[in-house]
Amino acid sequence: MTASRTGAEVRLEGVGKRYGRVEAVKPIDLVIQGGTLVTLLGPSGCGKTTLLRMIAGLETPSAGTIRIGGRDVTRLSAGERDVSLVFQSYALFPHMSVVENVAYGLVSSGMGRRAAGERAEAALGSVGLAGLGQRLPSELSGGQQQRVAVARALVLEPAVLLFDEPLSNLDARLRRRMRDDIRELQQRLGVTVVYVTHDQSEALAVSDRIVVMRDAEIAQAGTPAELYEAPADVFVAGFMGEANILPARVTALDGAAARVEIGPLTATLPHRGFAVGDASLAVRPEAVRIGPPGAGLPGTVRRAAYMGAVMEYTFDTPVGAVFAVSHALDRPLRAGDQAGLTLADRGAVLVAS
């Protein structure tokens, strides 16, 4: 488990999948660099799991080529590829002990039972489960089962490790810890990881790159910061965290900057290729500055909620409802109060609608 070779590159060339007339994945080109963790993020039914299963070899693409480490694996079965998959349901064999589960892949590839057992015990130790090998999976907690599933995949030292929504069956607190563990493990082993999730905060926390998918195709790919701060369109902006989508108007261009009017409010933002005319503006809730009434966009508090660390407000404004968070907890506004809303330096971008 100490080997820290760099994981293999995964290259998808026009890979698509159709079931009869339904196009589950439209032809996609994607390169996942060796040793990085890439997240496939999207709402359910967007094709992210199908794409992952094609990389794993559990589905055969109806078009395109999949290369792992330069080798064409499109027509190889799952067992013939140097990949391991951690399933959403963990898929631990209920009739085998934990150590038998972990050793299963080693024995399948021809290792002796005793040697495989020793390797499996070591792998269990590396995920913090030393000494639990003789239990049945049903005798472990959800988090422990998850670790067994990871150990079972890791013990084969695959060039590519795949995760299919691995944390969706855990409670919120455990989820946070497990995702940090997965990231730490990936960094330590230098393995390539493809990670499917529909939880954007999970994706932001663990990824080197995120691929946002929508309707069977890639909506946008990039680093977490790129996607959060410069979403390509309304869909990505809305999917990568909360965003207010406000109608805006580009009135003038000046170099890389654009003058934008949002109702009575004006702001200077990067133009991102937009011409003069109507546009949409994505504004993060934390980018809304709440000031006294008079300046900026006039708003009336419709709803105020105390969330402990922050206050959450919903304002009625001339351009529609605006959702905002504020750290000013000492003088909270109440429903009906007036305020003037302006934009922070970051967190507001023009997006395609």
């Binding site: 794993a56 070899g57 559990l58 055969t60 027509r75 190889l76 079965s77 799952a78 067992g79 013939e80 990949v83 391991s84 998959l85 399933f87 959403q88 349901s89 898929a91 631990l92 064999f93 209920p94 009739h95 002990s97 150590v99 038998e100 050793a103 299963y104 892949g105 024995v107 399948s108 590839s109 039972r113 005793r114 495989a116 057992g117 020793e118 499996a120 015990e121 090998g133 003789q134 049945l136 079972r152 995949a153 084969l156």
Partner: protein, 738 residues
């Protein structure tokens, strides 16, 4: 990468065509069979030897296909796709060549005039295909399936491709072909008429469709008899079954658990035991008749032999079946529905009428149809009690074994019966397809089942309790009959019947001789059932796995064909089998093989169903996890799927073993002097009025089956226990099991 997957199956086909005797050997396979290449007798030689040394040129195509199959080995640089295409071509060509030679040349030379015209007169003949032909066919079949997998079908999974090919081939040979033969025979020509006219003559037969019983004292056609019997049996058994089910699930009746035991009876009871019991009660020398005659001097006569007797016997036989189906239906009704009705101020009676009963309706229809089909297919009761009251299944039997053997008539009758059975089967599927509102209520339902409204409960008890007692009496009589000398005349207790059936004596040289009448048939029955059960279970599980885990063109057709075999009445199968396998190319009538094949293909659908039900409980990701961990499909099946399917496998094993022991309708056509079955032995005794031995034998059979069920349960149970121990503390880390 794995090595190119050609060689094994090609070598197998080669062995079948070159090394093994091609035809069926009269005296079985001896050591001499292994020298089939050098046999002087053409019948004992391999296909290659026959072609080369005996001038049997019709084997050359088989050998040509084999030669073509060597090409992939000579062309190592062939691409994957092309290699696959070549393999498919070789496999199909080989199968076609085998089929062609088998159908073209029979026991009297060419089988068709046009062949003779084409090739000239043939002064030669051949018998049925034997071990060599079978092995070669399997080899070619798997070459074709490997080819398909190479071309990317079944996700490139050779095992899955092979499994589907095997199942499809088996169904084709042992189900589709016999059914096709029935059809052609029903259309077969007679000296007077062409095919259509002959068919019309047979179908319009007054003995089949006549309605004379409505206007005169003559009997109606057998088709009407069968339908009337089916309707009345199904209606009565469903009503009784509902009463039983309501009592078992909705009352706190103390004997509830004992009542549930009733459901086991139809599984372990040979189909004529009820008939026997009824004869012992209501027959000419039956208890009731003797009592009435003793008290009043009146003769009750032989009313039990005829429609009323058969009906009574069938209702006794099939009420437990209806009960079994309806327990599930009544339990499937969500208590929340009934509680909702109560909170809406409906009285218990109104709740029952307006909510419970309508929800049960599809289930009731299903139970009715199940019993209807069983009644149509029933052979044991009508043959024992029918007298002059003929139904289709017995008429088919008499058309084959009666004074004038008429296979055309038997085939036509079988076709009529098959049509009825399939109609009921399709109706049943339609009914089950629409019953979604019952089964949907499964999850998260709580609440207590509502007690029955009082009038309904009283009615149910009034109907069910006497019937339950009567059932016990019938069984009791059937058992008691084994222990008296001559029923009705000489009531002396005796064990003579058991001695006659199961005597063991020592011969003059001190050896043990099984001199009882029953030993021969009992040995055959147990042996064949024991051979058939594992095959049935294995094929059934394989089919269940293929159907629930693989996507391929024709999946629906395969499933449909499998389920259809279940709907085909036993008598129809029996007739179809003798018609099909009496002559080459597959001449297995009179052998044990035909009986085993019959058991396997009649009982497999139950294994498939229980396997599929179990498989749907099994998360698909378990298979996938195994695959991504590098396990082959076979290893996945053996290490992951099979251990988790143990209960379903057990069900299939027990069911196929027990059914093979108790079935009579199909096997009565297929037995021979060498392979006599217990049930057939008994029924022949019953027909001859020799009740003592029959009853003793039946009782022994029932005991044997209870013991077998217990034994299988014990065996499977212990393996599970062994696993726990292996997983316990101090054990070797991995795999305590071998």
């Amino acid at each position: 990468m794995r090595r190119p997957p050609v060689a094994v199956w090609w070598w197998l086909a080669l062995a079948g065509a070159v090394l093994l005797p091609w035809h069926m050997q009269q005296d079985g396979l001896g050591a001499g069979s292994l020298f089939a290449l050098f046999q002087d007798d053409p019948e004992a030689a391999s296909a290659a030897a026959q072609a080369v040394r005996h001038g049997r040129f019709w084997f050359w195509p088989v050998l040509a296909a084999l030669a073509l199959g060597a090409l992939p080995a000579l062309l190592p640089r062939l691409g994957r796709e092309r290699r696959g295409a070549l393999l498919i071509a070789v496999g199909l060509a080989g199968l076609a060549a085998i089929a062609a030679q088998g159908f073209a040349v029979g026991i009297r030379g060419w089988t068709a005039p046009w062949l003779e015209a084409l090739f000239g007169e043939l002064d030669d003949r051949q018998f049925g295909i034997g071990i060599g032909g079978a092995v070669a066919a399997v080899g070619f079949l798997f070459q074709a399936s490997d080819g398909l997998a190479l071309r990317g079908a079944f996700k490139g999974d050779r095992f899955a491709a092979g499994a589907v090919a095997l199942l499809a081939g088996a169904i084709l040979v042992f189900t589709a072909w016999p059914m096709a033969v029935i059809l052609t025979q029903a259309f077969g020509t007679t000296p007077e008429a062409g095919p259509l006219a002959a068919f019309a003559d047979r179908v319009a037969d007054r003995k089949v469709w006549g309605l004379a019983c409505l206007t005169s004292s003559r009997s109606c056609g057998v088709a009407w008899n069968t339908l009337t019997l089916g309707f009345s049996t199904a209606t009565a058994a469903t009503a009784l079954g509902l009463a039983f089910a309501l009592i078992a699930t909705r009352t706190d009746f103390r004997a509830r658990r004992a009542m549930r035991m009733l459901t086991v009876l139809p599984i372990i009871t040979p189909p004529f035991v009820i008939g026997l019991g009824l004869i012992l009660i209501f027959g000419r020398s039956g208890v009731v008749n003797q009592l009435v005659e003793g008290l009043t001097g009146a003769q009750l006569g032989r009313w039990i032999y005829g429609a009323p007797g058969v009906w009574l016997a069938q209702v006794f036989s099939f009420t437990p079946t209806a009960f079994l189906v309806l327990i599930g239906v009544v339990e499937g009704i969500s208590p929340a529905m009934e509680e909702a009705s109560h909170t809406l101020r409906a009285s218990p009676m109104r709740t029952f009428r307006a909510v419970s009963l309508p929800l049960m309706r599809p289930g009731l229809a299903n139970a009715w149809l199940v019993v209807f089909v069983e009644s149509l297919a029933d052979f044991g009761n009508p043959i024992v009690l029918g007298g002059s009251f003929g139904v289709l299944s017995t008429e088919i039997f008499f058309a084959v074994v009666g004074a004038q053997t008429d296979f055309g008539r038997a085939a036509m009758l079988a076709l009529v019966l098959l049509t009825f059975a399939l109609a009921a089967f399709f109706l049943q599927r339609a009914v089950l397809g629409r019953r979604s509102y019952v089964s949907l209520s499964g999850k998260g339902d709580s609440g207590l089942p509502t007690p029955l409204p009082r009038p309904v409960a009283v009615l149910a008890f009034l109907v069910a309790v006497p019937w339950a007692i009567l059932t016990v009496v019938v069984y009791g009589m059937a058992l008691a009959g084994a222990f008296v000398r001559v029923w009705g005349r000489d009531w002396t207790p005796t064990l003579d019947h058991f001695v006659r059936a199961f005597a063991i004596t020592t011969g003059p040289d001190g050896g043990i001789i099984l001199s009882g009448l029953a030993w021969n048939s009992l040995g055959t029955t147990v042996t064949l059932a024991a051979i058939a059960a594992p095959i049935t279970a294995a094929l059934g599980m394989l089919a269940a796995w293929v159907l629930s885990r693989q996507r391929f063109a024709g999946r629906f057709a395969l499933e449909f064909a499998l389920m259809l075999t279940f709907a085909v009445p036993g008598t129809v199968i029996g007739v179809a089998y003798i018609l099909t396998y009496n002559v080459p190319p597959l001449e297995i009538t009179g052998t044990g093989i035909i009986l085993v094949a019959c058991f396997v293909f009649r009982n497999m659908p139950v294994g498939v169903r229980s396997g599929m039900a179990a498989m749907s409980q099994l998360d698909r990701s378990l298979d996938e996890a195994s695959a991504t961990l590098g396990a082959s499909t076979f290893r996945t099946l053996r290490r992951v799927v099979m251990p988790l399917l143990k209960p379903a496998i057990l069900t299939a094993l027990v069911y196929s073993f027990v059914r093979a022991m108790t079935t009579v309708s199909a096997v009565i056509f297929l037995v021979s002097a060498r392979h006599e079955m217990a049930t057939v032995f008994i029924i022949n005794r019953v027909i001859n009025g020799d009740y003592g031995v029959s009853i003793a034998y039946s009782a022994a059979l029932i005991m044997l089956m209870v013991a077998a069920i217990g034994l299988i349960q014990l065996l499977v149970g212990r393996r599970r226990l062994g696993r726990r121990q292996a997983g316990g503390p101090g054990a070797i880390p991995v795999g305590g099991r071998a």
